[in-house]
Subunit: 192 residues, 2 copies
């Protein structure tokens, strides 16, 4: 029963819709995934946010109204699916900082999850948007794991320079807004 991190605590009884939770990157990735699905390229979906339902009202016939519920901490990453017969798994995060991505934005169990995925032959990565710089990077899971381990005794973030060096920039485009599979093609399906 833990407050889900992306919601600002200062807000008071505000109407929230899934589509405008201030997640520009999320919206862009969802659009991209729709493009992939509609064009039969890949089937990758965002997992629903896990919610613990406590109370449900059945006042109307048509719709059960949940009147008490709480956000839970997700146990895996947000996105998974299939591409070219391969299992794909990733997490997407935004940061407002210009110099480094704070490691605390990724939960330990999510890093562990990515580790499990790649050990079992899946493709795992993170997509990080530096919103102030208008730059988006894909960074493969094994780097994320290394940087997470580093953060236990040293630097608690991945620097922008490290993203620029070891990651792959994703340029936002029109139809496939965040065309991350272009990078995955280069990395895993070269020459196909």
């Amino acid at each position: 029963m833990i407050n889900y991190p992306i919601i600002r605590k200062s807000m008071q009884t505000k109407t929230v819709s899934t589509s405008n939770r201030g997640m520009d990157l999320e919206a862009a990735i969802n659009e991209t995934n729709e493009y992939y699905i509609n064009n039969d390229i890949a089937y990758i979906y965002k997992k629903p946010i896990p919610i613990q339902v406590v109370k449900v009202d059945y006042e109307r016939r048509s719709a059960a109204r949940i009147s008490e519920a709480y956000y839970k901490v997700p146990s895996t990453t947000d996105y998974n699916g299939i591409y070219q017969g391969k299992y794909i798994d990733f997490e997407a995060k935004e940061t407002k900082t210009k110099t480094a991505f704070p490691m605390k934005n990724i939960h330990e169990h999510q890093v562990k999850h990515l580790e499990n995925i790649i050990r079992h032959g899946g493709i795992g990565f993170v997509i990080v948007a530096f919103t102030a710089l208008n730059k988006i990077f894909l960074l493969e899971a094994h780097y994320v794991i290394d940087y997470y381990q580093r953060s236990e005794s040293g630097r608690k973030s991945i620097t922008y320079q490290e993203f620029a060096t070891y990651g792959y920039e994703i340029k936002e485009s029109y139809a496939k807004r965040i065309d991350y599979l272009k990078i995955i093609d280069q990395l895993y399906f070269q020459g196909k």
Copy 2:
């Protein structure tokens, strides 16, 4: 904004917890998946139930309380993950009937989803429990697709006999309660 089908409409303002929504099969599969995860065999998870959040109260510092939300219809199947480098995707359903599994228990877009998954090289199936008979079957997605197509002009269900003939019975066991990967091994990883 559609009432989620597994909740009975006759209930009035009742406390619901995810763990006891009467889904015995679901609980058993979740336990099995935990076994697989804890023994580093496979990473297969149940997706959270999709919920449309309308209103959130931030009365307390510690926990955002969702005070208005509605169940949404899932756009994919309930379970997916990775096993032996392969993408795994399935839906699990219970039925109380003794003679046939009504096709209406599976949404059209879920059948379509399974079709997409197997066309792209994933492993897709359904697990159906005939609770009155204490029998559980795994049926591969291509049969589900065929029976779904049949239901459009003919029989609106898959008979028990068809499950017994084309499906694979899963005997409930102690630690791995619903050991469906044993069947998947036979079907896809024979001789490994």
